[in-house]
Symmetry: C2
Subunit: 440 residues, 2 copies
């Protein structure tokens, strides 16, 4: 991974800080979500290990530096800056909420403190990583909420926004509560359960559907799931039933799921296969699943692809990364932004989670409640082992279950109360006065 | 890149084909778009070089194979299959439309012909790659259409669905007509112009806004673009104007762009800087740009991020990859799918682009019009040099300009007439009869 995976202006700014003698000032940046995506009462923070890996392991290659030197924007930059890039190692600190923590609008998910230029150039990668995985973990939590006790498997890589996004979507969906993913690489990289049996092309590749099913059963034994809609769903179910055990069940992928699941259930039961399960997939999301559950469709598991892996109803999240402090000791300045509709609070912060509200406070404060941000990188070194993906999923599950139903609601959820500490409000006012009083 | 970046069922099917003696049957798969995303009258095909690179260069590592062996789904698979994976080299053929070619619903963007198991496991990567880049190139063409003669720069990596998606979004947006991208790595990898100067944090890092501007001008000279809304847009413009030349212009990033662009234009003109340009960014898309253009806002260039890099109004595309032929010579069977709402035509195909319609025909047919699919890989080797990204952008620009305005319309576009040749219709009927008559 190269730090060149960033917006060019991060690098021009880094060069400019270097020229202005500011590159090594200590700065703190904060990553937060300006607002929650539509119909979300919370988001589930995700993406931290990929951020830490990027910060601690990415290096500028010679070709990266040569490329920058070739750009007109770097024509006036002194050689010392390129030397700096060549020897780049991230030297700062990172504080973050654990993966799987529910967050609300305006709350910091992560703070980076370090040399200004280093903290600056990380912005783009951090936003895209935390933003996307948080988006998908949150969407997964919604789908899982709708499915109740039924398992949800993430199936979306083919429709993800790039193959690499599919791998991370599989990871984030698992944190959000999915039972697993169809993405094999996500399974290998993150230790996530992987699922998958056969597609329509499998059925088509054999002269008859029954032969395709027989071959599948030989291959997969008790993991066998027949996809039964290639030609005719009920015919497919009858053929599957005729093969008896071993099997896990059948998958519906088109048609009226309420009607078909009932008919297929009857076919399986009549064949003495009452333990065989029915899975449904194709164009599902939390609303469609809610409807199927409410209408009593006898479906045991859902495969959810496109709309989960892209969070299709709300495909973006307003993640922002803001400079909140610069300098240290007596020269420290607190930085905030007051432009229309884009106010940001100054200073590094802590979130205290109380029973019925969160309080965002200054980093040094001690308030009642559970502090959420913890140190994960110190001086460019890991400060603690991170929970693995399974632990993040458990944390998410417990944390979401502890939220009031009104906040978890899938449509028009209530908003949790989030206050700012008195000290933080005072800091905002001071920053505002300073900005207004600043000489032109 | 590892071929493990695929849905698990591609690999279980490959194993099953191997066990059933079908793995080396010649198969043809076709990638097409079942329907066009909302309000799109066409899509722009993109992503081909990444597909070819994956097919020709991806290899299973020992760790990949070890991982598969550890899965319950592979417990019954013979050792020969894992040997096959270890020696995997793609040996098939690929035919595709050139990048930047407008396509319509149901038209094949690409055909893979090769050993069944190899063509099968490529499915997931090909869909996610072609699907996503096509989605973004298409979105970019819409934004560029709205902007008319004004430049559009892609700014969306921070809000892309993963950092890697941001790199590919920069590429695809350029093919769709953007002037360049903020993504530095996309610039290096694909030879795309890169743009970027400074963010709000730059302004905040200096004691005064004027000092921040002066430093930027020293750094960037004639490439200087001041971001002027950190504290107060018009004040920011006055300070920028006071510094005179060299500069390229200023950027607005919040507030009422119609009002602010007029006021800022006046400030710049009054300072004798009538050649200084005004760029606008923040929450833009084709509809917002249309409105700004119609209201006569004096904006010279647009930076479009979130909604472009995610195609936020239509974040998914119904890309499908279907088995259309299997076997060869006298044993060749044509494969189609007739399940509810998901009909697919059998056989490898060619598209003939005529003046006022396209005709989808069987691969061997010769019809009037321009044939769109061309051979790009033959027997696992590149069959021709691919056009580079700039050539793809030119091809897209010419091709879109040649489409009727009614098809390019941004809302409720007309649909182009797409017919199927008589031979292809006969093949569909034959496949349907064969499927119906197939013994159970």
């Amino acid at each position: 991974m190269t730090p060149l995976l960033t917006d060019l202006y991060e690098l021009t700014m880094a060069a400019g800080y270097f020229e202005a003698g500011l590159a090594f000032e200590t700065a703190a940046f904060e990553l937060s979500f300006r607002s929650l995506p539509r119909d979300r009462g919370f988001v589930l923070a995700a993406g931290l290990p990929q951020v830490i890996e990027f910060l601690l392991e990415s290096r500028f290659e010679a070709a990266d530096i040569e490329y920058l030197r070739s750009l007109p924007q770097f024509a006036r930059v002194s050689a010392g800056f390129f030397d700096l890039l060549q020897s780049f190692r991230f030297e700062g600190d990172v504080r973050a909420v654990p993966e799987g923590t529910p967050l609300f609008a305006g709350e910091p998910a992560l703070t980076v403190r370090g040399p200004l230029w280093q903290a600056q150039i990380a912005e783009t990668f951090l936003l895209a990583t935390i933003g996307f995985q948080t988006l998908i973990a949150t969407k997964a939590a919604r789908v899982v909420e709708a499915a109740g006790a039924r398992a949800v498997v993430e199936f979306g890589t083919r429709r993800a926004q790039s193959p690499a996004a599919g791998v991370l979507a599989g990871r984030a969906a698992f944190i959000g509560g999915c039972a697993g993913t169809s993405n094999t690489l996500a399974g290998r990289l993150y230790g996530i359960p992987v699922y998958g049996t056969a597609a329509h092309s499998w059925v088509q590749a054999f002269p008859t559907e029954l032969e395709a099913q027989r071959r599948l059963q030989q291959l997969l034994g008790p993991s066998t799931i027949y996809l039964i809609d290639t030609y005719d769903t009920l015919e497919g179910a009858r053929k599957a039933a005729s093969l008896g055990r071993p099997l896990w069940g059948v998958r519906l992928d088109s048609g009226d799921f309420v009607h078909l699941s009932r008919e297929v259930r009857r076919i399986l039961d009549d064949a003495g296969l009452s333990d065989a399960k029915i899975m449904a997939s194709s164009d599902l999301d939390e609303h469609r699943i809610t409807e199927l559950v409410e209408r009593g469709a006898p479906i045991d598991a859902f495969g959810v692809g496109t709309r989960l892996a892209t969070s299709a109803d709300a495909p973006t999240i307003s993640a922002v990364y803001k400079l909140v402090e610069i300098g240290s000791g007596g020269r420290k300045r607190y930085s905030a932004k007051f432009s229309e509709g884009k106010i940001s609070y100054p200073g590094a912060k802590q979130i205290f989670r109380q029973q019925d509200r969160d309080v965002i406070a200054c980093a040094g404060e001690q308030l009642p409640g559970e502090p959420l941000l913890e140190e994960v990188v110190r001086g460019g070194q890991p400060a603690r082992p991170l929970p693995d993906t399974r632990a993040a999923r458990s944390h998410a599950g417990r944390s979401v279950a502890a939220l009031p139903a009104a906040i978890r609601r899938l449509k028009e959820p209530e908003h949790r109360r989030v206050d700012h500490s008195e000290e933080l409000e005072r800091l905002l006012e001071a920053a505002r006065r300073e900005a207004k009083g600043a000489p032109a």
